[in-house]
Amino acid sequence: MSGVGAPDRGSAAAAAPGPAPAGGRGRGPGDAGRIGAAARWWASRVAGAAFVLWAVATLTFFAIRLIPGDPAEAILGGPGSQASDEALAAVRAEYGLDQPIAVQYVRQLGRLAVGDLGTSYSLREDVAALLGAQLPGTLLLAVLALAVAWLLALALATWSTRGGRVSAAVGSGLEVIAAALPHFWIAIVLILVFSTGLGWFPPISTPGVAGLVLPVVTLAIPLAGFLGQVMRESLLDALEAPFTVSARARGESEAGVRQVHVLRHAALPAVSLSGWAFGFLVSGAVVVETIFARPGLGRTLLNAVTLRDIPLVLGVVLVVAAAYIVVTLLTDAAQRLLDPRTRAA
């Protein structure tokens, strides 16, 4: 961003300590070298992702041993659960709690490796199967919310950078407020207006399209606030960048400049925020699914946390962490593909 349009006498010298231009060295090995570099990148990233996944499993394994008291009791819902001796014995046997901790740890990893997440205490069901059933609903919610947020953000960012000062101020004001809105409050307001007031949508998320509208909008608004700000910042940067000057000097129209050049630059940072957006949506899903009484991963997590259903909590945490790691990896790959500048680093 530095020195846009400034008489930058020293750029030649400023570049001096840096490495030679990328083209200089990339030329030798040619395409083979590039493929090699891509393979190396993927290998190191996948290894990194695997490490994080292992570390998450390890961290959670040891963290639940921080719970005061008997771990078997904790797994059965804490001291208040008044679990029977047989149940405790069964849990101890299942988790090998009578074994040395190293053995327990290795066994736990082994179980995770084959996708065995244990049995939910509160629901008495296989956690993996349970989550498998809950996942699609939450995924649908999150993807729709993401799409709506992108559209809202893009619309707002484009509109507010097009006109004069008023639309710019209104646009950025709306975005700041939207980003500060807690999900539960949006949900309350939307229910008040559109369910209680107008009666357009049900206050409880019934199956079908009508039941999806309010949860999706609730999730999308704050996300759109953040994405919109990021997009607008990069839109403004791109609109002032020298390459748009040369595009205009070539005879490109304002609309053409935006379509051909600027939008791509505006979308880039929003893409790079996908990992963050995923986390934001998952957190939001906990609140939204609870308020709209919609079955899904978020509500399952909240119930599990409230009931201290440790196997279920661990299951959700691991699934979400794994998904997050995959999303981040894909985001980075997408960015690498879209923006050759990130490849040099």
Binding site: M1, G3, A6, G48, F51, V52, A55, V56, L59, A63, I64, L66, A169, S172, G173, V176, I177, A179, A180, L181, P182, H183, F184, W185, I188, V189, I191, L192, T196, P203, F226, V230, E233, S234, L236, D237, E240, S272, L273, G275, W276, F278, G279, F280, V282, S283, G284, V286, T290, L301, L302, A304, V305, T306, R308, V313, V317, V320, A321, I325
Partner: protein, 298 residues
């Protein structure tokens, strides 16, 4: 990437563009008058601070006075925000809840900042091995996105106002840590630190005089941006029944209490929520303004 990093990045980029446009004289913009949004944010903050310090002046009605006959009154001249299930004045409760709520947000932010400072400075100062280790730790913590880390923390240590506050603090710490580490590395590699070395200044003196002040000054900005978000997160936890519990006149607790009456008495949750929104928005605007000052002075 955390919410915080997104906010911090947003606060930065606007200022930098303005500066790029202004060229060498860009510092002049520092003295520009605050806009309408900033003035409104300042008024909101003044009101909130007054509510926190002298709630009995802002809202003379006793927030704890129960009058069952007045229960569930919608907003009116007598009760601008209505009354709750026990007939208590919600406006008064919201105003009296400002202090505890802000305190919770500030406490959570301080916890997050403290964790971030410890991890971030360790990574930035203690050499490559520690940096590598801390970075891997942060990567792992980032794999518990958003509320997940806080929820996991609550599972282990049980629900309640104290754990919820700590949980929010802990879950924001990785974000702070990464920003602080980045800032530290930028400052350490800066030309002015090199210039101090060339002048023969010792490591310790460079650290105290240049590196720490330039790393820590942006923490005020981060903290300001973070308080609003911490309040939103803490309130979300309370709303879900994992944080502050009802008898307290704290916004999150009021939300949790009003939750059951959403369809019949919306004002029980709407107004505490509105105050949270106002706080979060005002701190964001103020944080950006601060960022601008820090950047444009420097």
């Amino acid at each position: 990437m955390s919410d915080l990093e997104v906010s911090a990045r947003l606060a930065r980029s606007g200022v930098e563009r303005r500066r790029a446009r202004g060229g060498p004289g860009g510092g002049r913009a520092a003295r520009r008058l605050p806009g309408a949004g900033e003035s409104a944010a300042a008024l909101v903050l003044l009101f909130l601070i007054a509510s926190a310090l002298v709630p009995q002046v802002v809202a003379p009605v006793d927030p704890l006075a129960i009058s069952p006959l007045e229960a569930f009154r919608p907003p009116s001249a007598a009760h601008p925000f209505g009354t709750d299930e026990s007939g208590r004045d919600i406006f008064s409760r919201v105003v009296h809840g400002t202090g505890p709520s802000l305190l919770l947000g500030i406490a959570a932010t301080l916890i997050g900042l403290a964790g971030g400072v410890v991890l971030g400075t360790a990574a930035g100062m203690l050499g490559r091995v520690v940096d590598f280790g801390v970075n891997r730790l942060l990567e792992v913590l980032f794999a518990f996105p958003g509320l997940l880390l806080a929820l996991f923390f609550i599972v282990i240590f049980g629900p309640g106002i104290v754990t919820a506050t700590i949980a929010v603090g802990v879950s924001t710490a990785p974000g702070y840590a990464r920003i602080i580490r980045g800032q530290l590395l930028t400052v350490r590699r800066s030309a002015y630190v090199e210039a101090a070395t060339v002048l023969g200044r010792g490591r310790w003196r460079v650290l105290v005089r240049h590196i720490l002040p330039n790393t820590l000054a942006p923490l005020f900005v981060l903290g300001t941006l973070g308080v609003g978000q911490a309040i939103v997160w803490a309130a979300s936890l309370s709303y879900l029944g994992l944080g502050a519990v009802p008898p307290a006149a704290e916004w999150g607790a009021m939300l949790a209490a009003g939750r059951t009456y959403i369809s019949t008495a919306w004002w029980l949750t709407f107004f505490p929520g509105l105050f949270i929104v106002l706080t979060a928005t005002a701190t964001t605007v103020l944080g950006r303004r601060l960022q601008q000052r820090v950047r444009e002075q420097g």
